[in-house]
């Protein structure tokens, strides 16, 4: 599913070069669950951005579902994010001015889905156990429920990969565990590849394997 070969990323802050990733290689198979751990500044956010096709590596190869990402233009990257990747963020990133159902419909609008958006959004919300909250605003929901809405939004375009960036970071441990359970269930039911970025060892322990990043390289 994911094939990373000797990936580097260097940021330029004025004249200073800041290496964030210094040669990272690993592979993730279809349907696998992995955790990426590391302290802040270890390069895990950078790695997450590249895996999510939000940013391009400075060098190295990244194959997503067999497709080489480096060298694609913005619009192609947007299309890949739209169809192949579902994002779950620490801060949920829901639009507060509209209903949960409309929030979940959003990725389909950019995919050009015409008819059937509503049904698909509703079945995605059912899959995360929020069928009864469809017409509520995010502000009327608890943190755990909001994260479920975000997961429904990530699922709705049937992606191959779910990228969860600290999905439990804003939740209490009990709710956080529920969210991780939900993600793992979805992984099993739908054969979704799941990448969890976390600093919580308990969350990382649920994954099949864990990649530790230190100063931009993988700790063996």
């Amino acid at each position: 599913m994911l094939q990373i070969e000797n990936l580097t990323k260097t940021y330029h802050l004025g004249k200073v070069e800041v290496p964030a990733l210094r040669g990272v290689s690993f592979t993730v198979n279809d349907g696998e669950v992995i955790a990426i751990m590391g302290r802040s500044g270890s390069g895990k956010s950078t790695l997450m951005s590249i895996l999510g096709c939000l940013d391009l590596p400075t060098s190295g190869r990244y194959l997503l579902d067999g497709q080489d990402i480096s060298g694609l233009n913005d619009d192609r990257l947007a299309a890949i994010r739209n169809r192949k990747i579902g994002f779950v963020f620490q801060q949920f990133n829901l639009l507060s001015r509209t209903t949960t159902r409309r929030n979940v419909e959003m990725p389909m609008m950019y995919a050009g889905v015409g008819r059937g958006r509503r049904q698909r959004a509703e079945s995605a919300l059912e899959a995360v156990g929020l069928a009864h909250r469809m017409n509520h605003r995010p502000s009327e929901l608890s943190g755990g429920e909001q994260q479920r809405v975000a997961i429904a939004r990530a699922l709705v375009n049937n992606p191959a990969l779910i990228l969860a960036d600290e999905p439990t970071g804003n939740l209490d441990s009990h709710t956080g565990e529920e969210i991780v359970n939900l993600l793992l269930d979805l992984n099993k039911q739908r054969n979704l590849t799941l990448v969890l970025v976390t600093h919580d060892p308990d969350v990382a322990a649920r994954a099949l394997r864990t990649i530790h990043l230190i100063d931009g390289v993988i700790e063996q």
Partner: protein
């Protein structure tokens, strides 16, 4: 992303900040309302002036004398005194001419009992009645026998009858004094409206010969009686230009002049209308332009609010990009939001502009009301212009939103 979806989203996000959106729309409303009101007032003024000029008569051409020259000093136009009754007679030979009416102008103090007024006195021939589209309110117009016998008779304009007799009725048959002489009122003209120099109600009409022999004193030029104006009517609007050329040729032949040295001027009613239309158009554009400045200010308001919106919603933009929005999706989203604001302002503004026009139409201005005309053109102009304002002032904020990098936008606090 479908257009309808984008518009729906635009309304959703404008709705989230109701007061802010309303204030921004208000800026455009004021601008568009001002433009529509000003244009409609300009057009109303033009229509009322045009209809007043057209009420004078149709397909008219006027020949007036040029300026006099005495010892090298040029007098004003119309002072030459070279236009004679014989010129008028000669013009009958020009093709397509329906009527020719010479006119002698004077003025005088008109007295009846304790009332008096000073007004214009026109000495004309009976043809003048049809030529100028007059109708009688009472009595009759001057006749050929009046003309031949230089009768001391007078036809009053309705305003003059009002002043002297308190109305149209009761004037006919009365005897009035003009410059100390007795004249019998034989008719009163129906009112044509119009104010100022366009008023055809504040005047009295007499046989031309009466004015020449009894009032103004007779001047002659080359043995013929001098007149002030020759009024000519041709049979169709299309004949006016050719008739003007022909009249000029006949007059040059009689006066032995050539282009540049003419001692007369030939003007058609269309020329007058054209000049006035030009003036009122300039006025409309000027008024509309001033009003347009407020629309510009409204546009800057849109830009301001859109820039605020973009920076407030940076994370939202990051999210949209993460879930697959392309640059142009973001660009369109914010452009449509800006244009929704401006178009909403435009529609409401057109309504208020129309309302202002109606209110101004109710106000009396120097005795006549101005009917403001909201033409489809000015509505179209206002709509397009407000859309253009939205597009122009919305494009920079939208471009800024579209250019945001997804990674940085998502991290924005």
């Amino acid at each position: 992303m479908k257009l309808f979806q984008s518009i729906l989203e635009a309304f959703e996000s404008l709705n989230a900040n109701k007061l802010r959106s309303m204030l921004t729309v208000l800026g455009i409303v004021i601008g568009v309302a001002a433009v529509v009101a000003m244009l409609s007032i300009g057009q109303g003024a033009q229509q009322s002036i045009t209809s007043q000029i057209e009420s004078i008569g149709t397909n008219l051409i006027y020949v007036t004398p040029g300026s006099s020259r005495q010892a090298g000093v040029a007098g004003g136009a119309g002072t030459a005194g070279t236009l004679t009754q014989d010129d008028a007679t000669a013009l009958y030979q020009v093709p397509n001419i329906v009527a020719v009416s010479p006119e002698v102008d004077s003025n005088g103090q008109i007295v009846f009992m304790g009332q008096n007024t000073r007004t214009r006195i026109l000495g004309v021939t009976p043809d003048y009645y049809t030529l100028r589209n007059f109708t009688m309110a009472d009595g009759e117009f001057i006749s050929n026998s009046n003309l031949v016998s230089r009768s001391a008779v007078v036809v009053l304009g309705s305003a003059v009858a009002d002043t002297l007799f308190g109305g149209v009725i009761g004037a006919v048959g009365q005897s009035i004094r003009i410059n100390g002489q007795q004249f019998r009122v034989i008719g009163v003209l129906a009112s044509k409206g119009g104010t100022g120099f366009l008023s055809q109600d504040d005047q009295v009409i007499m046989p031309m010969t009466t004015v020449q022999y009894r009032l103004a004193g007779r001047n002659t030029f080359r043995g013929a009686n001098v007149i002030n104006t020759i009024n000519i009517q041709v049979n169709s609007p299309n004949a006016v230009t050719q008739a003007k050329t022909d009249i000029t040729a006949v007059m040059r032949d009689r006066h032995q002049t050539s282009a540049g040295t003419d001692d007369f001027t030939v003007t058609s009613q269309q020329d007058v209308l054209g000049t006035i239309t030009q003036v009122t158009n300039t006025l409309s554009i000027f008024l509309g332009g001033i009003a347009g400045i407020s629309l510009l200010v409204g546009g800057i308001g849109i830009m301001n609010i859109m820039l605020t919106t973009v920076s407030e919603r940076t994370r939202e933009i990051g999210l949209r990009k993460a879930i697959g929005a392309r640059r142009r999706d973001i660009l369109y989203q914010f452009l449509i939001e800006a244009m929704t604001l401006s178009l909403l302002g435009g529609v409401i503004g057109i309504f208020f502009g129309w309302l202002i026009g109606q209110v101004i139409g109710k106000i009396q201005l120097g005795g006549s009301t101005l009917t403001a005309v909201v033409s489809p053109n000015s509505v179209l102009l206002a709509t397009l212009f407000s859309m253009a304002v939205g597009l122009f002032f919305g494009s920079y904020p939208a471009m800024r939103a579209a250019r945001l990098l997804p990674v940085e936008a998502l991290r924005y606090e």
